[in-house]
Amino acid sequence: MRARAALLVVAAPLAMGQAKPVLVPDVSQRAIDIAYSFTGADLLLFGAILYPGGRVPVGEKPADIVVVVKGPTQSILLREKEKVAGIWVNAASARYRSAPSFYAIASSRPIADIVDDRARAIYELGLDSLQLSPVSTAAPDVQQRFGRGLVDLKSRAGLYLENPRAVEITDSVLYRARVTIPARVPVGRFTAETFLIRDGRVLAAAVRDIDIRKSGFERFVARAAERAGLLYGAVAVVLSVGLGWIAGAVARRF
């Protein structure tokens, strides 16, 4: 009797774990190479929802899928222009320790209908729920204004995206979503997080890494510009003098 009770206690988490569905996510590209013709990339995030027993539970509400692609966080200084003496100049500023360089969220329904504000803040779901970690201690309304300004700026550059209904779920088990990576994307390690959510509760989550890097000539040039400035500058000067000289020499022939 005692042994059976103990067994039950030990097995309980296992049994509960089995009752939860498991996510098997994947991305179309584990690495994105930026080469000379790079104009952005289409990332396909897809996967399967494995329900315990292999059956989709009947009688329950269908679960939702939310996919978040995040770029490496950056420490940034955000400046706001103001009209001073007739011209627009940078005036107030705010510092953030961890602003994502890229953030795209796709979901099967509008995110506000899927989870409440608290869960959104915890999992950083939605452009208004980003954890930017502001350094300055400005008034809340000022913080909000700057936060909105950052999101607006990045959205217009295509670096922050929110796309409700971009996740397609087939037969409650297969899902897929397409996220557009623009050409202006920063390089680094990206993460693709997938959440399975039902009744406002996150049932399962999984992460995949995506490396975005410059390759070949582009990588060589970017590195040279950063690490061997003197030589790089000399090459730029030789190139410009050479091209100018050739053009002059050719023109004199005609």
Partner: protein
Amino acid sequence: MDLYLPVANLSVNALVIVLLGGGVGLLSGMFGVGGGFLTTPLLIVYGIPPTVAAASSASQVTGASVSGVFAHVRRGGVDFKMGGVLVAGGVLGTFAGAWIFKLLQALGQIDTVIAIVYVVMLGSIGGLMAREALSAIVRSRRGHAPRAAKRRHHPLVAALPFRTRFYASGLYISPLAPLLLGFVTGVLTILLGIGGGFILVPAMIYLIGMATGVVVGTSLFQTLFVTAVATMVHATTTHAVDIVLAGLLLVGSVTGAQIGARLANRIRPEYLRLALALMVLAVGVRILLGLVWRPEEIFSVTLS
């Protein structure tokens, strides 16, 4: 044809950039200016970050001035001593300019200062040039022979010490005046990505009083070296020279410059000067509007 710029971190239409370089080159060949004052603002309008635009257009000016320098050297149109002094001042100016650049970047006011300097400079020089060209046109219409202006340098220049002889320029003046002039253009080269020809040329004529035959050649000589040094300074301090962008601009501009130089021979010089003045004024007004109008982006991000 889309091409990714590895330092600017964005992709551009290569054809548009080559044509932009070609258009600027055409004008620079026609008017004998480097054209940097057009390239930098146009690149910014296209979406290139301002620092990369200024750093990369300096090398375009280098390329556009090379063939001009060779042509002037061949016909003895360069005062090497004067040019050397100007280059020395210019190199000092680029170092000072790099320091100012860093300071303003830290204060977050670099873009505003660049725009204001552009407006003041383009407005005043464009205005002076337009007035001068218009009165020349009026004079030639009335059939007067253009009054031979007495060539003399500004009294302030004459007051400076350490006078020395500049034979090719026909001058006996202190080298401090051209040194200072070179310094100012050097600062402007770093900040604005321009060669400074349209400041140098009038200053050489009206302030220093150089013989007109060597003015353009010597100014191009200074531009060639100072823009080359500016490219080096940018490459080692801001790391913002995009060699792919510079290459595209160069291919267009060196070709355009040759065509422009041929076109220039067919047009009367005072009309050419008036056209240049109007263009300079137009760019100045456009930048002024950019300062006064409510900008599309109120917020801007810098990495820290």
